[in-house]
Amino acid sequence: MIQTLKPFMAALLAKQMREDGRGVFDYRPIEIEVNPIPRANGSARVKIGATEVLVGVKMDVAKPFPDTPDEGVLMVNAELSPLANPEFESGPPGPAAVELARVVDRGIRESHAIDVEKLCIVPKEKVWMIFVDIYPMNDDGNLLDAAALAAMIALKKAVIPKYDEKEGQVLHKELTKEKLPMKALPMLTTFGKINGSIFVDPTRREEKALDSRLSIATLEDGTVSAMQKGGFGTFTQKEIAELLELSAEKGKELRKFLK
C-alpha cells in the first residue's frame, strides 16, 4: 500500500503540488483553543488541519535534582492513545511517543523558555515540577509541531497553584494569579522529504510516504534551540542550510498564535 502512495506523493511534489491543494511550504489551517481544561493549571488544544492535540500543564512540589538544586523541573510526556489513530496501541510508550515528548522537551528546555530558577521554593529541598502532558486526539500527521505549539500555549497560560508552606502541601484547588516565568517562545517546524522534494507540515498520508523528516525549533531572534532528523532517508548540507532559514520564517507565523 505504501508502495503506491509514495510514487503518487512524489509525482505531486515534483510539480510543487500537494494532495490537499496546499503549497509546499504552507501549513494547514491552524486553530487554537486556550485553557479548554479547567482542572489543568494550563491547557491548549491545537488543530493543524485534521490533526488535533490536547496538552495540559500540571504542577507539583518536589525535591530538585541534585545537580540543579535551585531549579524547577520540567517533565514532558506524550501518550499516543489508540483513540487518535488506528495504528496506535495501548501500553507503555513506544519509540514514536518517546521521541515526540523528547523533541518537544528539548525545544523548550534548551531555549530556557521557562525561567526554572524562579521555580525554586527552598534550594535543595523544594522546587516546582512542571508536568507537560501531550495527548493527540486525532493524528493526521505532524503531531510534533502541533504538540510543541500546544505545549507553549499551555505553559504561557498556566497559573501556579497555591503552596501551603507550613503544611508542605500544594493546594491544587486554589490557584494563585501567578503565571509561569517564561523567557523565550520556541516554535517547532517539521519538514518532510519525498524523493528529493521538501515540504512543510506533513499529513499522515504524506508521513507514510516520507523518506526523511527534519524538525527545527527556533526562537524569536532566529536562534535554533533543537533539531531532530527522523526517517530512513537523508538530507544534504545545502538542504539543511535552506531549512534553517525557512524554519525561522515558519516559526514567526506559528508564534502569532501565542498572542
Binding site: 508502495q3 541534585p66 545537580d67 540543579t68 538544586p69 535551585d70 531549579e71 510508550p93 513506544g94 519509540p95 518517546v98 521521541e99 515528548a101 523528547r102 528539548r106 528546555r109 534548551e110 531555549s111 530556557h112 530558577e117 526523511s212 527534519l214 526562537l219 532566529g222 536562534t223 535554533v224 534551540s225 533543537a226 533539531m227 531532530q228 532528523k229 527522523g230 526517517g231 530512513f232 532517508g233 537523508t234 538530507f235 544534504t236 548540507q237 539543511i240 542550510a241 534553517l244 532559514e245 525561522a248
Partner: protein, 256 residues
C-alpha cells in the same frame, strides 16, 4: 549557571580541558570482528567512550507480525551497561535509550539495502561499556562496521561524530564536561561517499551560521573516522584471509 560541579572554565589558554585543539577528535580505535557468535561485530573506542556492537541476521523475524514483505525489518537496541557511567544506570530500556535506539536506526537505515532482504530481520545490538559523551555517535560507527562485517550489502559505511559549543567556542567531539556544561551539542552522521546526512540532532542555543560551521566540522571528522572504519574491516578480513591460506597450505602439506 546553577549546575553543580561545573568547572570554572571549559577553555583555558585556548585549549580544552583535556588539552585538545578545538577541531581535534579524541583518540579513535576501531576493531572489527570481536564477538565470535555474532554475524558481525565491532568495538569503537573514542577517548574514554567505548561501545560494542553486534549484528545478527538477516534471520527469521520473531515475532512474525513484524515481518515486512518488501524489505528487512531493522531492529536497533542501544543500551548502557549499568556500570558505564559515574552514577549506576538502571538496566533495561529508559526513555533516553528508546529515543537513541530510534535515531540510530534512522541513521543506519539509509546505508543498508534493506530491500535485498525481504521477510527477514537484522538485529543490531549496541552496548555502551564506558560512557564519556558521544555514545550514540560511537555506537553508529561501531554498528556500521559490524553491519559490513556481517556481510550485509550497504551503500556506504555510516560515520558519525558530535560537535558543539562550550565557553563560546565551537568544538569537535565534546567530552563529558563540555557536553554537560557547554551551550550546545549536535550529534551528526553521514555516508562519506555521497556526503548525505543520516543523523542530525541538536540541543542548545546556536545561530544558523554556527550550525553550518558545525556541519562542516563534523563532515571533516567523519571523513577521518571513515578511514579508520575501512582500515578496521580490511585488517579483519586480511587476518581471515591469512588464516584460510594457512589452512590450505597445511592441508596441501598433509597430502605430500
Amino acid at each position: 549557571m546553577t549546575k553543580v560541579g561545573a568547572p570554572e572554565k571549559l577553555i583555558v589558554n585556548g585549549k580544552r580541558l583535556d588539552g585538545r585543539k578545538f577541531d581535534e577528535l579524541r583518540e579513535l580505535k576501531v576493531k572489527a570482528g570481536i564477538i565470535p557468535n555474532a554475524d558481525g561485530s565491532a568495538e569503537v573506542t573514542l577517548g574514554e567512550t567505548k561501545v560494542v556492537a553486534a549484528v545478527y541476521g538477516p534471520r527469521e523475524v520473531l515475532p512474525r507480525h513484524l515481518s515486512e514483505p518488501d524489505r528487512a525489518y531493522l531492529n536497533v537496541i542501544y543500551t548502557m551497561i549499568s556500570f558505564s557511567t559515574s552514577e549506576r544506570v538502571r538496566p533495561g530500556p529508559s526513555r533516553r535509550s528508546v529515543e537513541i535506539s530510534k535515531v540510530i536506526k534512522d541513521a543506519l537505515a539509509p546505508a543498508i539495502f534493506l530491500e535485498k532482504y525481504p521477510k527477514t530481520k537484522i538485529d543490531v545490538y549496541l552496548e555502551v561499556t564506558n560512557a564519556n559523551a558521544g555514545t550514540r555517535t560511537a555506537a553508529i560507527n561501531a554498528a556500521s562496521v559490524a553491519l559490513a562485517d556481517a556481510g550485509i550489502e550497504m551503500r556506504d559505511l555510516v560515520a558519525s561524530v558530535a560537535a558543539g559549543k562550550a565557553d563560546g567556542e565551537l568544538l569537535l567531539d565534546l567530552f563529558e564536561p563540555e557536553d554537560n556544561f557547554g551551550e550546545a551539542d549536535m550529534p551528526f552522521a553521514m555516508m562519506p561517499r555521497t556526503k548525505e546526512i543520516t543523523l542530525l540532532q541538536m540541543d542548545g542555543e546556536l545561530s544558523k551560521d554556527e550550525i553550518m560551521r558545525l556541519v562542516e566540522m563534523n563532515t571533516k571528522a567523519c571523513e577521518q573516522i571513515y578511514e579508520a572504519q575501512k582500515a578496521a574491516l580490511k585488517e579483519k578480513f586480511a587476518t581471515e584471509k591469512e588464516a584460510v591460506q594457512e589452512t590450505i597450505e597445511n592441508s596441501e602439506g598433509d597430502k605430500q
